[in-house]
Symmetry: C2
Subunit: 351 residues, 2 copies
Amino acid sequence: MPRPLPTVSDVARAAGVSRQTVSNVLNSPEIVREETRTRVAAAIAELGYRPHASARRLRTRRASTIAVRLDPFAGGISGAVLDRFLHALTERAEARGLSVMLYTAKDAADEIRQFQRLVDGAAVDAFVLASTYDGDPRTEWLIEHGQPFVTFGRPWGIADLDDPLHFWVDVDGRAGVAEAVRRLRGSGARTIGFLGWPAGSGTGDERRAGWAAGVAEGDREGGVVTEGPRAEPARLSAESEESVAAARAATRRLLAQASDLDALVAVSDTLALGALIETGGSLPVVGFDNTPVAEAIGFSSIDQRVDEVAAAALELLELVGRSEAGDPRSHRLITPEVIMRPPGPALGLVG
Amino acid sequence: MPRPLPTVSDVARAAGVSRQTVSNVLNSPEIVREETRTRVAAAIAELGYRPHASARRLRTRRASTIAVRLDPFAGGISGAVLDRFLHALTERAEARGLSVMLYTAKDAADEIRQFQRLVDGAAVDAFVLASTYDGDPRTEWLIEHGQPFVTFGRPWGIADLDDPLHFWVDVDGRAGVAEAVRRLRGSGARTIGFLGWPAGSGTGDERRAGWAAGVAEGDREGGVVTEGPRAEPARLSAESEESVAAARAATRRLLAQASDLDALVAVSDTLALGALIETGGSLPVVGFDNTPVAEAIGFSSIDQRVDEVAAAALELLELVGRSEAGDPRSHRLITPEVIMRPPGPALGLVG
DNA sequence: TTGCGTCATTTGATCGATCAAATAGGGTAG
DNA sequence: CTACCCTATTTGATCGATCAAATGACGCAA
């Protein structure tokens, strides 16, 4: 029953033209005479012809496939972000005629082995890396081997930030958190605290900076610059590891030293959840990542807009190699979106 | 810098043999004389040769690639299950020399269009479907077109259950929930309630049946068969949609009609979370799916063991076509694992 | 009429591997 | 010594597409 698939030759015969003309209709329609083109197109439609992916890849020496690593445990609650990113990426890639292939790896060395395998087998011609760190051997390997890639997440080694060989897309956490602070202030909050990760993680530091900037902005508006509760970052913020339990403890500490808090911004939905549980929902809390949990429970969060990130990543991949030193087009910063959810009963433990 | 990749011919020249012998070393090593084999293997290692994936696929007419759909929103909190399944599948597939390719689709019709695209392009030679329903047009299409596929989730149309053309793997929710009831009873609970989805979803009904069976089992052990609180399924269970808010409302109703509850099993982690929030953690609750949320907050849950599911799915794919009518090997039922977490402070709102 | 340039289309070679069939090199039986 | 078989290896064709170069058709200027 699965009769052999038609080939270019079949189409050519049916349309009364040569193989190459059929190929041209598909790849450079503009060089084919209008009348011929429609005749060939009709034959293609009638036979239900589709180019054989492998044959094409073999001849063109392009895999038209990008590889993405699927992380073992993509970070607890926030794992869903990568998930959504992957979905968006796949969707956008399809639209551009690209395939997305998955691979897994236990660690960086293992991942480099995978690069080797995929590159040597000509199975893939670009990579998307989901989280990189300072001195990441993976990006080094890829650059050294001339493999096109884009990272979701800016390189935190300062030297790499403007490396025109390193293409990246990232979300402007700083702007996102600053905007969240503004929104909270807009809905009446005056003293806004921050629940962050221990200093040192680039991402976390950026988000904290956004909070500080947002708070300072409010101080200026209020005419207060050097004093008042809003000018006391140390007192109004606390640090916690990425776990609900730790977040609860941190929230307890924070409330003890700052009983005047009106609202809180957390560096992640996990911490936001901890804060919400601890406060019983008595304070508005804004998380980060807009995970399904935030949606399910109904608290505010900052959405990374992975769809934009995916689109930008693919655009950058098209530029790889064509870019000059210092080309600003080698990276893209996406502004996230603050999703405010009505305070409502939230955890419903209060009022 | 990216010098051309070595080909079979390069290896053949280096080892002083013919192309075909190199190919044989890779694909049928047993027919090559020991000494020749090691010499060729050495040349392969030295040149860092790897077969060109597309060339091989073209010639062998096998894509060695399985396609998996990435759902738009893979079901709220429980989306992580698919995520973990995908990870496990990718890992196992790699070990078997298979690639995993993604695609997306808005609905069943769209998905069938994708099948068409992938099959006609010879890009893929098997599919894994993640959730099917009664009369699913997708499975019909695949069977009709002779495409190998496996579903994660048994077919709910009774007629299909033994259809030897429909290969499936599923998790035995009934057994899992029954075991959870046993474990709760083991730790002292006597009256165990159930928070389920409205009847009609095959999966949910199975889980409810597991609860009923577990409870009945306890009744027999206790010598009580026809009376006592444990023989009253209607009073001890409630229904809720898959949302935290709905689960809270359902829990409230349930507690109103059964104040003697010692513990609760929920059909999903989402409902379990709702129950936990509503009860403030005063009752042990077991969820389903063992999502990151369950782990983060620390409540018990039933783990689907997606790793086993993935392994089974790939094994079944190897059997597709080779199977006879009524072959019991055309499906596999995996027993999930109950993960009990110490009641601890959980939400810490009590005690 | 001849020559040349342009546009549309065709022809032959090729990408890198494997399939199918042919060949070489022993060994054993008649 | 020939015939025949068996094993190990080689040869030529092929998978389905695109590349690069050749061909044909037509118009226009010399």
